[in-house]
Amino acid sequence: MIACHLPDCVGVGFKPQHFEGITEASGPLGFIEIHAENYMGAGGLPHAMLTRLRADYALSIHGVGLSIGGSGPLDREHLKRLKMLCDRYEPESFSEHLAWSTHDGTYLNDLLPLPYTEGTLRHIINHIDEVQSTLNRQMLLENPSTYISFAESTIPEAEFLLAIAERTGCGLLLDINNVFVSSTNHALDPRAYLDQFPLQYIGEIHLGGHTEDADEDGRMLLIDAHGSPTADPVWSLYAETIAKTGPIATLIEWDNDVPAWPLLRQETERAFSILEPARAQHAA
């Protein structure tokens, strides 16, 4: 049902500094993920590396700039660029975020939150219909990490995502670190969120690191910084989720303070140690 053709393996967000490490000793790596916008130049090193890796690995193209939750129309030029990229590399998966980043022609380079209402739901469904028909493929939509919530929200996030998946036919990308970050920031229970989450629509899982801070009232504020190893409570939630869903393609995201390849590879091995038994059991 979910047209995500990534293998049920561990992947990493590809960084050019890891090119040699990956081509020499990739460990349990089964796929790579790229940020679409970094490969929208005409040629040069990014495409040379990607073409080389594409020959050996399944590929996930992950957009960060389409602003699906934006109040204005989608950027058609950007959608065209995404289509060109998807046509060129034929990725096993294309995904984007439940967030907005462009407003009145200004690009804010961050994944910004939106209220969950019947109105925003209809709007996002229209945008996802447009993306899927333009790209001629099913996409995955990722749950966001948020620091604020909106009084006008009337629909819980997991329910909002379910409604989108049901009405557009898209799949979902479950970012478990985002679940932990948002739940902590809004004083909610991440397990309750995951219990509500429509597991049957998940095509890919993201894991990544966060940092700890506090707001002015001294309440814990987690920042989705992608600059450290995945935290232990997130690994626990991951193992619990995989126990329920069976094996699912799982990505380690590490975008800032990027470590040397061996350290990132350790993270992939940790995910593999959870995923592999589930896969063996699933196959049995």
């Binding site: 916008e37 970094n38 929208m40 130049g41 005409a42 040629g43 040069g44 090193l45 990014p46 495409h47 040379a48 960060v64 700039g65 389409l66 602003s67 934006g70 109040s71 204005g72 950027d75 950007h78 907005w100 980043s101 462009t102 407003h103 009145d104 022609g105 200004t106 690009y107 804010l108 380079n109 961050d110 910004l112 939106l114 209220p115 109105g119 925003t120 709007h123 620091y147 604020i148 920031n185 707001d215 002015e216 504020l221 920042i223």
Partner: protein, 246 residues
């Protein structure tokens, strides 16, 4: 309704003195500004080295406040940064820094430019000597030129740790030639006459016209040496005579 909400949100993000700076909202403000500044630092390391990190970050925030990106292609962010630097009052006594920034803009362009296969010296074989002056050159898409009143290529090399920093006794004008070979971008210094020659070829003028323009600037302009540079560095992708490719 959603549009108005996003209007307010964006004003709060970009306002230098936000009315309601709650720490939670400030996470977004901080993400946005840090990402803009980091993008500029990644693209303009020589400018950062020349002015110092603290100065650079303050200038980058100033720029970002009025020049937020217009597209999700962050590789293009900062195209107008050289102009901003040129008119940035604290740098009025350092007019060469804007040209340094122009070199760095061109480096990104070269890095991402289309791939194209260069021609070798044999491409000249079928050209009759009498036709040479009428020849037109298609230069590699990753070739960029930045003409400057200052020794901009040397200054770039010094600020990237590729040349020993030194006090420059005189300030010869240089044109920076930015090119890509084996996916790696390099910057070299050529004379203003050489820069004029390549710019003329790049804008589809004939070899004869380009050579005349260069010689008008510098009577000692060495055409053979520059043709050798073009071919040896793989900077020419096609020769055209009378509009039909050779």
């Amino acid at each position: 309704m959603q549009h108005l909400f996003q209007n307010r949100f964006v004003r709060g993000l970009l306002d230098p003195m936000p009315p309601n700076p709650s720490k939670r909202f400030a996470v977004y403000r901080n993400n946005v500004f840090v990402s803009f500044v980091e993008a500029l630092k990644a693209r303009f390391p020589a400018v950062e080295s020349a002015v110092g990190t603290e100065f650079f970050e303050a200038m980058a925030r100033d720029y970002a406040g009025t020049n937020a990106p217009k597209s999700p292609l962050m590789m293009e962010y900062g195209d107008s940064f050289p102009h901003f630097i040129e008119t940035f009052p604290p740098l009025a006594d350092f007019p060469w820094i804007a040209d340094l920034a122009r070199v760095e803009c061109a480096i990104t362009q070269s890095y991402h430019a289309a791939d194209s296969t260069p021609v070798g010296p044999e491409a000249f074989a079928p050209i009759a000597p009498d036709d040479l002056a009428q020849l037109r050159f298609t230069l590699h898409p990753a070739l960029n030129l930045v003409a400057s009143r200052f020794p901009v290529a040397t200054l770039w090399q010094m600020n990237r740790g590729l040349a020993e920093p030194a006090l420059l006794d005189d300030y010869p004008a240089e044109t920076a030639l930015i090119q890509r070979s084996n996916y790696s971008v390099s910057v070299k210094s050529i004379s203003p006459a050489g820069g004029t020659f390549l710019t003329a070829l790049q804008s589809d003028q004939t070899l004869g016209e380009a050579a005349d323009k260069a010689s008008a600037i510098d009577s000692t302009f060495d055409l053979t040496a520059h043709l050798h540079l073009l071919i040896a560095d793989g900077l020419v992708t096609m020769l055209t005579l009378n509009r039909s490719p050779q």
